[in-house]
């Protein structure tokens, strides 16, 4: 089974044998994939309807609410902490960001870019809250309560003295184009960052 393209990029950023924590691990697909390369660790997931799939995949899954932070984990206890497409659904993303760089030597965070031109277009000319392939819900039923743009995200990283090691800004097909390269905040739909805390 092939991996979703953003998960494939994440996987490519993680070296063999690393110890990882996958926040919001869903059905354990990423961790299962990583295990083949000797990468071990835990998945955290609030919804235990996904647990049977995790267990079948041989993935250690812990039921946990990310809004509580990561108090069960010691400082710098994982090589990588991964948060994919979940940051915008967290009650206190700034707090979780602190927790991620506390627990992980490296962090990988992916989120939908609210600065994409389609969002801007819909809000400016349609006068409505944007709905797109990466943000398919209406304003009243969306789990995405803390959307941000690429600029917003990089600003909070700067203010928290979190260094950006690398980033991948792509369109909804997870391809990079001339647009995503030149004007990422306008043409990027999904952003992926590798970060760590400035030492």
């Amino acid at each position: 089974m092939s991996l979703r393209i953003d998960l494939q990029i994440i996987s490519d950023w993680i070296p063999d044998g690393a110890r990882v924590l996958d926040l919001g691990c869903d059905n354990g697909i990423l961790l299962k994939h990583l295990q083949q390369r000797g990468i071990t660790g835990y998945g955290l997931e609030i919804d235990n309807s996904k647990f049977a799939a995790c267990i079948e995949a041989g993935v250690n899954v812990i039921q946990a609410d990310l809004d509580q932070g990561l108090p069960q984990f010691a400082d710098q206890s994982f090589d990588f902490v991964i948060l994919s497409q979940t940051l915008q659904a967290i009650n206190h993303p700034d707090f979780l960001l602190d927790e991620i760089v506390r627990v992980g030597k490296q962090a990988i965070i992916g989120f939908p870019n609210f600065g994409h031109w389609q969002c801007r277009w819909q809000l400016t000319f349609g006068g409505r809250m944007p709905v797109s392939k990466t943000l398919p819900n209406a304003w009243f039923n969306t789990p995405n309560i803390h959307l941000c743009t690429i600029k917003d995200f990089e600003k909070i990283c700067t203010s928290k003295q979190i260094d950006i090691q690398q980033r991948s800004i792509v369109n909804h097909a997870h391809k990079d184009t001339l647009g995503t390269k030149l004007l990422p905040n306008l043409f990027g739909q999904t952003a992926l960052y590798q970060l760590n805390k400035s030492s």
Partner: protein, 382 residues
Amino acid sequence: MPETVPADSVGLVTPTLLHIDSPLLLDCGRTLPSYDLIYETYGELNQAASNAVLICHALSGDHHAAGYHSADDKKPGWWDSAIGPGKAIDTNKFFVVCLNNLGGCKGSTGPTSLNPETGKYYGPDFPIITVADWVRSQAVLADHLKVQQWAAVVGGSLGAMQSMQWAISLPERLRHVLIIAAASKLSAQNIAFNEVARTAIKSDPNFHEGYYAEHNTLPRQGLGLARMLGHITYLSDEAMGEKFGRKLRNGTINYGYDIEFQIESYLQYQSSSFVERFDANTYLLMTKALDYFDPAQAFNHDLAATLANIQARSLVISFTSDWRFSPARSQEIVNALLSTGKDVTYAEIEAHQGHDAFLMPIPRYMEIVQTYMQHVATECQS
């Protein structure tokens, strides 16, 4: 039992009595020179003896975990919902063992047994047994069954204390441990409930300092009261409300002190049936085993250090409405396992049944146990 044996039942089962003639040194300092263990098995041990699963029972449980003893039995064993062909703990794949613990009253040596040294019932003179003592005696049974390493040791509540203790005391003798509705030690509130139960038993005029057998009587009132209290705390407010609400037995209130509400009638029935099948001294002993359990005590109260030598992979499960062994208590165990990098899976099951939820066939709970055990079974074949 039903007229025909259901396809997913282990069917008719017969317990086996094992007499052990070698002494067992107990935590209390005393020694049992010889003792009996009664147990049941379901399924077949494979040639490599790699598919054995030990089920540890809780306070009022026994060796009869699944199936029926006779065609006249109204109810199957206490965890029949989880053990059987095709069930969560699949007897087509596993050799499942369940024994009555020492100090019990269902066939293993305990207060209702005759003391070979005096020819009288042990009664209150039976030594207090700890969870670690149980694990030692269970290891003797494992040796007898030629099981060098359990595929999994499984327990809920007091049974989970035993499965944890197995992983701590004999780490190389199990590959998986299932710790369900557990705590690494009782809270003051839990000990307090147990003390009320003990006081109820001990203050019954028929208790006779525990020598009621010699007086040909039983402390029915006290044991019944202890059971009523326990029963209330094993359920949740919501579960009781849903089952009984304020329903009246006869539809009207009578302005008197007789039983009027359905819940009163239920508790009275539960306690009166319990006192006929359970021994008061055993109840006292079981509550003490619960109170004393605190494996981290020997490790300077550091639970992570206590669990550091565990080799088994763990599945920890708690239930949202369980206020006797709350999810927070399970999370302590999980956090200790995480801090030393152990393989662990933890699920908090949405359930309104309180502590008793661990005995209920709640679909999400059973799905997780079944999937986990299938994974364990796959390892047994490879």
